[in-house]
Amino acid sequence: MEIKVVSQKSKKPIGTFTVGDKATLLDLKNQVKSKTKRSIDRIRLSIPKSGSSNLFEGLTNNKDLVSKFVGNDGTIYYKDLGPQISWTLVFVCEYAGPLFVYPLFYFLPSIFYGSYANTEKTQVQNIALICYSLHYIKRVLETLFVHRFSNGTMPIFNLFKNCSYYWGCTAMVSYFVNHPLFTPPPMERVYIGLGLFIFGEISNLICHIMLRNLRPAGSTERKIPRGFLFELVSCPNYTVEILSWIGFSILTQTLTSYIFTLMGAAQMWVWAVGKHKRYRREFGDKYPRSRKILIPFLL
């Protein structure tokens, strides 16, 4: 079987490769690799989306047979994704940063707040420091010991993008929460917020462990998640994470925290919609119809 590989951007031919009938995408990528001198992780193969000449659908599963995709003219498109970096490294960097940035405002007020700096911290500010830190310690540990990533790498630019988002947002939240002129909310609201936060964090951990156990070590097999909050929504891990940030915002009564929550929720909504669609496409009728995307019984 002859496969023509063409650059997705310039439409210039990369080369023609001969592969066997049982060849997988990984086999084809290996041949492209020896021609382009790019590592496997940088190579993205794609086919045009049906009915479109500009939109392409990435072929992400290396184990798929090449023959599945060369229907019409035996052409597969190639894109160089640029230098790659492992997901684990990006995650650890983006989550470890807040662990340094947040406490700066708490412990070194004289640098940021000048003449006001010598005021006693309120109980709420102490609680907030512990909550914020615990969340990111949890995220780092989950990255190292719980998550199994189906894709090994991402473009290196994501490192800068993700880090500036997380580090910047942390500074934006921490500056106001640790401000000497901070106004704490009434205690009953602090308890409500704290309760929501703790519930969200614990449920989030449970979801992540369940997702891990869904995919046995060393496999890329996908299954339908069952049980706990997964019966209600496709991405309960995002639902409860949003809840826990709403809790943090209530307990700190800080506008920038609400803004951070809103931005995070918007991003998680986009991811959740994608994941929900993928589940539906992959499992078809077997996927529970009543299951919502992010908000139980509603959306």
Binding site: H179, L181, Q253
Partner: protein, 194 residues
């Protein structure tokens, strides 16, 4: 005699520009938000970035700042800024009318479209900045649009420093924007000779 009367009227009216046409310019500038949608919907053939920058830039100086600083209403910068904005719209809108009707605009309009900016853009930008510098002390003194801690949303914002940041950013961006317009102009000229 007539000349002297006209000159007197012209110079005197500079002080009263804002009271005379300010409300109308403000109304038109609110409507200018529609230009962003015109671009997004493909009614006008410009790019989103520059249109957004122009609409937001003008509306910031006029609707967010100037109308809150009456002390500056009588400054000559207001008259100059309105004059330049008006001139540039006098070129732009007739051109839009022609293109919407699929007819070719007259030669002099096309010439102005790609040459008037060489003078109008820097003067308009300078006028805006003259106004910013004159408004700054009042913005600081009266804490216009600033939010002071402590408050029940734990948020603080100092508009004065935001304006300084804004001035610096626009100063940095201006040369690139100006060069970019020259590039568009030379592209257009090349097309013509081909």
């Amino acid at each position: 005699m007539l000349w002297r009367a006209w000159r007197l009227g012209f110079w005197e009216s500079i002080d009263t520009t804002f009271t005379a046409v300010g409300p109308m310019v403000c109304t038109l500038q609110i409507l200018a938000f529609l230009e962003i949608f015109n671009v997004l919907l493909g009614i006008t053939k410009s790019s989103v970035g520059p249109t957004l920058a122009q609409v937001l830039g003008r509306n910031h100086v006029l609707l967010v700042a100037l109308i809150f600083v009456p002390e500056v209403y009588t400054h000559w910068g207001v008259a100059l800024m309105f004059f330049i904005w008006g001139l540039s719209e006098l070129i732009r809108y007739p051109l839009y009318l022609y293109t919407i009707n699929n007819s070719t605009p007259p030669q002099f309009l096309q010439f102005l479209r790609y040459n008037a900016f060489i003078i109008l853009y820097p003067i308009g930008f300078a006028a805006e900045n003259v106004l910013w510098y004159n408004m700054l002390p009042y913005i600081k003194e009266r804490e216009i649009h600033s939010v002071r801690l402590p408050n029940s949303i734990n948020f603080g914002f100092d508009y004065y420093y935001f304006v300084i940041f804004w001035i610096c950013t626009t100063l940095l961006v201006f040369p690139f924007q100006y060069m970019f317009m020259f590039k568009l102009r030379s592209l257009k000229n090349k097309k013509k000779t081909n």
